[in-house]
């Protein structure tokens, strides 16, 4: 796809529709066009999963709002990571460090608020800026030194995990604080933890879910409403062409990874609040869940194509899959095999018929 074409199709985040008159002459043309929309394909996968949920539905709980509310909470932390991952993948990169940055910022946040008694107004920006710095550092290595994204973020993944273990001394940072005489004293949980891990709007939605939706909205505005956001697509679509037409591709990359770091830090804070502690092992493997969400949504790993709404659908698809397997108390071995199979099925549904 040419660069000009990429930019032209950004608002709908879709490939240019191809009018293939030879195939399916009977199908109305607008239906065929609709079926080629990536979001329609992404929704198909989600509907498929929901249908499974309606079939395997012990006691009708799939029809209760609380089941969906819980799914929305469970998917939130990985969903926030998927936001940053979408930005990075659109620029043609990958960010393997997001899970480790979750662990690092969860520990940092707990350390600052629980052990050092910092007020929320200070701890929150420090954690978010730390996450941004981790991401921007990866981005800097990629843009400035031409290190492959896989390698640079792999390095950051290992390094940030080390940082998490280092500042926590390898222990979970919880409300039990070690005293000088080797005993543990329980301190009061700061109000901020309760505020984040809390349901609002008549107990109908978790705060973390709203945080995720705000992250999605921010990405939506960035990618579809701002010229700057279109540069992300241009960078991922054809980097040389973009650079020659004046797109600051290096800066865009640093921004993409930096924002991914910001979303990872927000996710880390939410993780810590929900666990009521900072676990240096938190977030291990979450990068793969986030990548799966982006890919199941239909954003291309090759870069230049995709969108944040797709990722949201992908996140719900993964969330419902986990929820359905869990409420049916499916054994671990079957869960892993089913998850693998359904990811393949969802991605096959996604693939455009060319």
């Amino acid at each position: 796809m040419s660069n000009a074409n990429t930019i032209a199709t950004i608002p709908s985040a879709s490939p240019a529709p191809s009018f293939d008159a030879k195939r399916k002459p009977n199908a109305p043309i607008h239906l065929r066009k609709l079926a080629q929309q990536p979001w329609v394909r992404a929704l198909l996968a989600l509907v498929l999963i929901a249908a499974i949920g309606m079939i395997f539905n012990p006691g009708g709980i799939f029809y209760k709002w609380s089941t969906h509310r819980d799914m929305l909470r469970q998917v939130s932390v990985a969903g926030m990571l998927a936001c940053g991952m979408t930005l990075v993948i659109i620029t043609g990169g990958i960010d393997l460090a997001v899970g480790s940055v979750v662990g690092f910022t969860a520990v940092l946040f707990s350390l600052l608020t629980l052990h050092l008694g910092w007020p929320a107004a200070l701890a929150l920006p420090v954690c978010v800026l730390t996450g941004a710095a981790c991401g921007a550092l990866s981005g800097g290595l990629i843009a400035g030194f031409n290190i492959q994204p896989f390698i640079a973020t792999l390095a950051m993944m290992v390094f940030a995990r080390g940082l998490a273990k280092s500042i926590s001394g390898g222990q979970k940072i919880s409300t039990a604080v070690l005293q000088a005489d080797d005993s543990y004293k329980n301190i009061e949980l700061p109000a901020l933890f309760g505020t984040i891990d809390h349901r609002i709007l008549g107990e109908n939605i978790a705060v973390v879910t709203l945080v995720m939706l705000v992250c999605v909205l921010a990405c939506y505005v960035l990618l579809t409403k701002l010229r700057w956001g279109r540069y992300f697509y241009a960078t991922g679509g054809n980097e040389n062409a973009a650079r020659l037409s004046g797109v600051p591709t290096k800066a865009i990359k640093v921004w993409a990874y930096g924002l991914s770091g910001v979303f990872s830090a927000i996710a880390g804070i939410c993780q810590a609040a929900q666990e009521q502690q900072g676990d240096p092992e938190a977030g291990a493997g979450y990068e793969l869940t986030a990548i799966a969400m982006v890919v199941i949504g239909g954003t291309s790993l090759a870069g230049g194509r995709g969108g944040i709404a797709l990722t949201l659908i992908g996140a719900f698809t993964i969330g419902y899959l986990e929820k359905i397997l869990s409420i049916n108390a499916v054994g671990e071995s079957s869960r892993l095999m089913l998850t693998g199979l359904i990811i393949v099925a969802a991605v096959l549904l996604q693939r455009s018929k060319k």
């Binding site: 012990p58 609380s66 666990e275 409420i327 108390a329």
Partner: protein, 313 residues
């Protein structure tokens, strides 16, 4: 850039390396994985027990859950000429040969928590997960029988550790055996899931258990973070006051702390054996003999006894 990265690496190495003081005896401690809080606690217990003794110095190595790395560490300790080796092995079979080689060279070996094969070591120190699971099963059956005085069965959720690991298998089979021995007719296990030792997973599974079961009397989790995750799920559903939570491990900052706060009703200790390992090491180095096999005593912590150090099982 290149040089600054190298300089930074050297700085990290310099700050991480210990300056070795000259002690009479050097003990090498090979830990299989410091990613688990329980194992961090084991090292802390060893450090604490050794701190008061000027005759010994302990060098710690972390194999980061890698069998081959741990094997290399054992060989490094042997080459460095340590006076005694403590190892908490990741796996029995692949670590048996290096441990036996060290033992045959005349280095006394204390095997902690997990076993090696054969008998080429000085002493094994460990707790028995099956026994602890059994104690939990008996305790839970008794507690549920009190609740279900009307004849109804107690509805119990079991949140299991990673079921491909032996501790989870033993905590599961011991628990079932304990129930069978105490009062099989009163316990109805209504939901069971593998939460892989992780608090976040336990919370997810518990949310499903709560959704499917309108009434749950007790949650038995294979570790304390799992029980805590289940508690948080129940709290979010406003049902935590009607459910009893029981966990295993009893670390001071986790299980014991949760019991003190009234979140868990009981936590069954899985002792690290760190202190006992140093005690045995001092005996061996002093020329005394120690038993080939030491099974550690476990405690149960409840609100009534947690401040007094728990109650022996």
């Amino acid at each position: 850039m290149k040089y600054s990265v190298i300089a930074l690496s050297l700085l990290v190495v310099a700050s991480a390396g210990d300056a070795h003081a000259k002690a009479k005896w050097v003990i090498g401690m090979s830990q299989c994985n410091l990613g688990e809080p329980w194992r961090v606690q084991m090292n802390a217990d060893i450090k604490k027990a050794a701190a008061g003794n000027a005759d010994i110095e302990v060098i710690f190595k972390d194999a980061q859950n890698d069998t081959l790395k741990q094997r290399a560490q054992v060989e490094e300790f042997v080459n460095a000429g340590v006076n005694l080796l403590i190892i908490s092995p990741k796996e029995a079979a692949p670590l048996t040969a290096p441990v036996a080689a060290a033992f045959k060279k005349g280095i006394p070996v204390i095997v902690l928590d997990r076993r090696v094969l054969g008998s080429s070591y000085t002493s094994f120190i460990g707790a028995d997960n099956k026994k602890i699971g059994m104690a939990a099963g008996k305790w839970i059956a008794k507690r549920v029988a009190e609740l279900a005085a009307g004849g109804a069965k107690g509805r119990v959720v079991e949140l299991k550790g990673l079921m491909t690991s032996t501790p989870a298998q033993d905590r599961n089979s011991g628990f079932r055996a304990g129930i069978k021995a105490a009062a099989p007719a009163v316990v109805d296990i209504v939901f069971e899931a593998d939460m892989k030792w992780l608090e976040a997973n336990a919370r997810k599974e518990m949310e499903s258990a709560l959704a499917v079961n309108p009434k749950i009397d007790l949650v038995y989790a294979h570790n304390d973070p799992g029980a805590h995750g289940a508690y948080l799920a129940a709290k979010a559903a406003g049902r935590e006051k009607n459910i009893i939570f029981v966990g295993i491990d009893g670390l001071p900052q986790e299980g014991q702390s949760f019991v003190k706060q009234g979140l868990l009703e009981a936590s069954f200790e899985y002792p690290t054996g760190g202190k006992e390992a140093i005690e045995s090491a001092l005996k061996i180095l002093g020329g005394k003999t120690v038993p080939k096999e030491v099974t550690l005593n476990s405690h149960v912590f409840t609100k009534a006894n947690v401040d007094k150090g728990g109650e022996c099982l």
